[in-house]
Amino acid sequence: MRSSLLKLIAENLTIDRGGRRVFQDLSFSLSQGSALVVTGANGIGKSSLLRTLAGLVPLAAGTIRLEGGETDRLPQEQAHYFGHQDAVKPALSVLENLRFWQNFAAASVCEDFTGSTLSPSLVLETLGIGHTAHLPAAYLSAGQRRRLSLSRLLVTPRPVWLMDEPTSALDKTSEQQLLGIMNDHLASGGLIVTATHTELVLDRVETLHLQAADPAEQAPEEALL
């Protein structure tokens, strides 16, 4: 039996934040080369789900596994988190920011995922901010900062990308470019989990729609808690 195919499996995820149950018994599995688009109303728990997968929110119950990944690493250590915060240091130059992440974050490759390591200057060039490489990041616009943050995902290969509202602050051209990058990642055997409000045209998409439980149904559960 060959089980080296990458598969992200979440079983019965339950999380509490601030003493409130966000969701309960959420299970899904995502196989190699496909993207999971998480949709739902504001405050329903999309970001919480992504942060949970990133290992930043403790699980009240359930497990997260990356089948076929490196066994000695936790799932979140094989994932990139692209969230609302850019993690860009204004005092460092654009290239210094990117080089730091390339050297600091551990790369994670396995036989089925062939993400390649690109050089920082090449990535900046591709994303159209090559001319800013030696400027302090403080001078970047919001969209440029966002692209710098995105370039972090390309200099360190990791199979799972967790992207929270990836298109925010990007213009139409950059959005198309982002979709291209995401499709390339899927094509090279990666996985993407993304929370979004806009329609994303990706190659292989599965949708997870989060919805508040029916109040009548939820009542007995509330009584239990």
Partner: protein, 223 residues
């Protein structure tokens, strides 16, 4: 393994140099504490020489506390801390390296300034050297203990004051042995090496306990 550690160390050092001020503000605060005390105590040179080591140590402790609240807060505010926890590097080592860079940027300037400030307090060359040496060995412990407070207060808007309240009690042993070994170098019958070695031991203990406790606190506050 050394590659990522070096990258982190260089980044932290570069940030504290570029953002600027952190070293200078600490030294200026140290200077302010040390100069204000002779005005309060009065111009008794013998008294000043006797309490000089203690004043320098208290000044260094307060100046260290001043810069500690930004140790993790800046990284948390822009999301860097989240990514550091996912980087696949041991968080305890990450904290140890951050503390080292922070000490070089803020603690070492205090040690360098200490001999100069010792002149203000009428210390003779021997005690000047002794205080500087004890500060060199002891201030890393203050930074490492302070890291625990910094990570506990990382999510608070104005955590600086709470941090001082949390850290000062834990820093008292370092203060006691720092001052007593500096005193021992001045007063002959007492051996210098005994309190000095205990001070070294305190720093080594802080280098283990500090990062472990601090990592636990940061993991807890990641939510």
């Amino acid at each position: 393994m050394t590659g990522w550690a070096m990258a982190l160390f260089q980044r932290d050092l570069r940030l504290s140099v570029r953002i600027g001020g952190s070293a200078l503000v600490g030294v200026l605060f140290f200077l302010a504490v040390v100069t204000v005390i002779p005005f309060g105590v009065g111009p008794d040179l013998n008294l000043l020489a006797r309490i000089g080591p203690a004043i320098l140590w208290i000044g260094a402790l307060l100046a260290t506390l001043l810069g500690l609240d930004r140790l993790f807060q800046a990284d948390r505010e822009d999301g860097t801390l989240d990514l550091m926890m996912m980087a696949g590097r041991p968080l305890e080592l990450v904290i140890l390296i951050k503390c080292l860079a922070h000490w070089i940027a803020t603690g070492l300037p205090l040690v360098v300034a200490a001999p100069l400030l010792a002149i203000f307090l009428n210390l003779d060359p021997v005690s000047m050297g002794a205080v500087t040496l004890t500060l060199l060995v002891g201030t890393p412990a203050l930074t490492l203990i302070g890291a625990i407070g910094a990570s506990l207060t990382v999510s608070l808007r104005r955590g600086g004051l709470l941090l001082a309240v949390l850290v000062i009690p834990l820093a008292i042993p370092v203060l006691i042995f720092g001052v007593s070994s500096a005193d021992a170098a001045i007063h002959d019958p007492v051996p210098f090496l005994t309190p000095f070695l205990i001070l070294c031991a305190l720093t080594l203990i802080a280098a283990v306990v500090g990062p472990i406790a601090s990592a636990a606190a940061l993991r807890f506050s990641a939510d």
